[in-house]
């Protein structure tokens, strides 16, 4: 509960900060456009174009994120990932990472809980990476702005390399742990 409060306060501070930043951006823009009146049309048209493109999909994307956050609770993700093993765990990690919503730092405590539960490292890495860059609502925004080809290519490549990275990091950490346990009693602090 304490953590939750902290998170909430953090968010509130963020929105205040962002609003101030928005005000500053507006003032700078107004000043710039009054110094360079010939740029006015181009800047306003471009901003307007992107605004329309964004506002057409943003409510839908945000609603989807709300749905995922309520229907895929964090506890469920941790429970499922904690008890799966093998290559299946890696793919389940990707799937479970792609469903819930929130910035990456929300996923760190979940990954830490998984680590403590003894989940596979490759699965945790896959989960974190998927959380970071292949969320479903996020992919929809990518589809809107960069097109189906770009989105599909990046999605497929990301999944392939995330699986490779997960397995590689798992091997590296296991190899390192083995080396450390051999030289136990030695200079432990020098291991990293």
């Amino acid at each position: 509960m304490k953590d939750y409060d902290k998170e909430k306060r953090h968010k509130e501070r963020d929105i205040k900060q962002d609003s101030i930043l928005l005000g500053v951006t507006l003032i700078i823009t107004i000043v710039l456009l009054s110094i360079f009146p010939d740029k006015r049309e181009a800047v306003i048209t471009k901003s307007w174009e992107f605004f329309i493109e964004m506002i057409l999909i943003l409510p839908a994307v945000i609603v989807l994120m709300g749905i995922f956050s309520v229907f895929v609770p964090k506890e469920m993700v941790v429970k499922y990932l904690g008890k799966t093993a093998g290559i299946k765990a890696v793919f389940l990690g990707i799937l479970m990472g792609a469903l819930p919503t929130g910035p990456l730092y929300v996923a760190f405590p979940m990954a830490s809980a998984l680590l403590k539960k003894g989940a596979q490292i490759s699965c945790i890495i896959a989960f974190l990476s998927a959380w970071a860059c292949i969320k479903i609502p996020q992919e929809l925004v990518e589809l809107q702005f960069l097109g189906a080809k770009f989105m599909a290519a990046r999605l497929i490549l990301t999944i392939i390399f995330v699986v490779i990275m997960g397995i590689l990091i798992e091997r590296l950490i296991e190899w390192n742990d083995k080396k450390e346990s051999k030289s136990i009693g030695g200079k432990d602090d020098a291991s990293i």
Binding site: A42, K46, F51, V63, I67, Y105, S112, C133, L146, F150
Partner: protein, 160 residues
């Protein structure tokens, strides 16, 4: 309204109807969460949209393509990779930003790298990651993500 936007909205409405039939209280909860996060994200969305307008209006295309375009080569890719790693903006906003860079002469490779490092690597959140997962895992994850971001970008540039 383009087909993609229609598809996204139909998909969202479909999901909403489906969960409304299944569980009304949770649907209400989901919509409350959505409304709150909409207002939380709105200022940064507007900031990025204004920034895009300024970028496209003020910076000449050949200037952008000189820094992050085809002729910038590998150093250009490295610059956007580092930029993506250090910037701390919501990933939802990275796509319009990337699209505007693409329009103004950036290469496919650099925007794919930019999106990947922006979302996967967090220099700002690294201390938090170290605290939760340990130094070893945090450094390996961020470091290898940086390398695979560049590989993904190069492949994207070659196939698209």
């Amino acid at each position: 309204m383009n087909t993609t936007a229609i598809f996204i909205n139909v998909f969202a409405i479909g999901c909403l109807i489906f969960i409304f039939i299944k569980d009304r209280t949770k649907t209400k909860q989901a919509l409350t969460v959505a409304l709150k996060s909409f207002f939380r994200i709105l200022p940064i969305v507007l900031i990025i949209i204004i920034f895009i307008g300024l970028l496209l209006g003020f910076v000449p295309q050949n200037q952008i393509s000189k820094i992050v375009g085809e002729q910038a080569g590998f150093s250009g890719v490295l610059v956007v990779a580092l930029l993506g790693a250090f910037l701390h903006i919501p990933s939802l906003i990275s796509f319009p930003l990337a699209a505007s860079l693409l329009k103004s002469g950036a290469s496919i490779t650099s925007i794919a790298v930019f999106i990947t490092t922006l979302t996967m690597i967090g220099v700002v959140t690294l201390p938090l990651e170290i605290r939760e997962l340990g130094k070893k895992m945090a450094f390996l994850r961020n470091g290898i993500s940086f390398i695979i971001a560049i590989i993904i970008g190069i492949i994207m540039g070659a196939i698209l």
